[in-house]
């Protein structure tokens, strides 16, 4: 027996039985296949990738275990698109004593940062869901947000707005125009994507959407952004 064969035999002795290795290899293959389907069907999906999702057990397996992710937009950090901007939900409430109070989501005072981030993600999702493609569902999250604030403060009505906060261009901070230099300038860097009146009828919160939203042009948006 050659030396390499002896070493191989010794190594084999510490390995699991062959049938176990075969079974585990098969399971690894299935897992990697499902993972591949998740990646391919979540980023510019081809018809084949979409059909592969329908292979029995693939979709439930991916979704239950939260493996069904779009890694490109999720971990791409930014692509300079509309979705890569901050969003603030502003709620102006008319309280039962006649006074008015304003709230924002996320509130800048929320700490620790992870709590702020959750509220920010909720506002971003609400804004991402607006537009032509989402007519049927665009008011669902704003309604949930409005209902929460109404219940918390016993309000009898109000207004809810979703505003995108676009990034300044790199040349803006050195501009001679004070408005352009200010990254919080509402007329330049904010765009209202959704506005609705909050109506409370019999304890139920309803939203009456204003159609004239999104009239402000964004300042620093990538040309390909939606």
């Amino acid at each position: 027996m050659q030396t390499s064969d002896v070493a191989a035999t010794e190594k084999e002795a510490s390995l699991p039985a062959e049938w176990k290795r075969t079974l585990v290899s098969f399971l690894i293959f299935l897992h990697l296949f499902a993972l591949g389907v998740a990646v391919l069907s979540n980023w510019n999906p081809s018809p084949l990738a979409l059909r592969l999702r329908r292979v029995p057990f693939v979709k439930p397996y991916l979704e239950y275990l939260a493996l069904d992710q779009s890694y490109v937009p999720l971990y791409g950090l930014t692509f300079g698109m509309t979705e890569d901007t901050d969003v603030v939900a502003e709620v102006d409430l008319k309280l039962s004593d006649g006074s008015e109070q304003s709230f924002s989501l996320p509130a800048s005072t929320l700490a620790p940062r992870q709590r702020w981030r959750r509220d920010a993600r909720l506002a971003e999702t609400a804004a991402d869901l607006t537009g032509e493609n989402f007519r049927a569902v665009e008011s669902l999250l704003p309604q949930a947000i409005a209902s929460h604030f109404v219940a918390e403060h016993g309000a009898k009505g109000g207004t809810l707005r979703l505003r995108r906060h676009f990034q300044q261009p790199i040349t803006a901070p050195s501009s001679s125009d004070a408005g352009e230099r200010d990254p919080y300038d509402k007329s330049r860097y904010y765009s209202q994507v959704y506005e609705a009146r909050i109506i409370v009828v019999g304890g139920q919160v309803q939203l009456l959407k204003s159609e004239a939203a999104a009239e402000v042009a964004p300042a620093a948006i990538n040309k390909g952004g939606k």
Binding site: A8, S41, A66, E83, P112, R118, R121, T125, V137, G224
Partner: protein
Amino acid sequence: MSEGYFKRLTTECGRGWTRFWFAPSDPIALGGLRIGVGLIALYWLATFTPDLDRYFGAHGLVPLGTLRQLEEPTRDGNRQTAPEQVREAMPREYRFSYLDHVRSPGGLLAAHLAGMAAVALFTCGVFTPVSSIATLVVVLSYLHRGPMLTSQVEPLMAFVLLYLCLGPSGSACSVDRWRKERRTPGSLPAGSIGPLVARSSTWATVSLRLIQVHLTLVYAMMAVGKLGGHGQGDNVWWSGMGMWYLIARTEQRMLDLTALHQWPLLVHAGSYAVMFWQAAFPIFVWNRLARPLMLGINAVMWALLAPILGNIPFAVMMIVASLAFVAPEKLRAVVSRRRTHEAALPAKAAA
């Protein structure tokens, strides 16, 4: 081409596969990952404590009814045609969450504290085979109950936890190991360092390899998005403006680096550095010689990006997950030195 060539090819491929997935390895890296991911999960969960009722209560920001209504239009093929950012935040057709069944503030708090206890046990390595699965269930329950509250860290945490459930993550650096050693003194290999080290295991290799492969996939997709362009717009990374788009997000950032507008070349250099680091990582991390360099660059880049992204748990999670690439012998050497040093201290003091 001789018949011998193909025989050798299949044999060598088979051996390579077996060596890659099944050669037993020291589970100390899994122990380190368990502690790191466990601490992140514990922090992540603890930050839910003041907001349980605010999110999941009867008048919460994410009511179950809304979740179900949002789920309907994104079923099957419809989901995949939705813009990706939206898709991430939408509830899945196949989802489970024990939080769906708890509505009262007291019930939510009790369920939450039970979940935190499970994660704390897992982090300490107590009843790890059970507590690891419980931790995965807890994290997935929150993820499925409020998908629109999640960002980058949650899916990462979920898959690392999934793989830690498969391997003996409680066999090293754990209370389980310590208890086992106390019950059967001398059960550890000669030269071992008390409760910290366990015997090599095939399942440790399978678990570590799965983390490595999945993490590589994440980096590869990060790089593909940047190199190939995403959407139909200008590629902000190739144009060197990617970093500026991050720096200029006033709400998200934790550190204001707007002053860098005076040095656009620096911004461009930063953008290219991010792009090439993410493109190089999934290739060079598999090379033994380049691996320490890649891991070092990885840690530095995430540490620099964390305050710009304003998402420290995500950056820490990426660094922790990359521990899967550190050779177990190196980790063992670090722990051994520390233990030896600690053991020597009382002796020195006595002298």
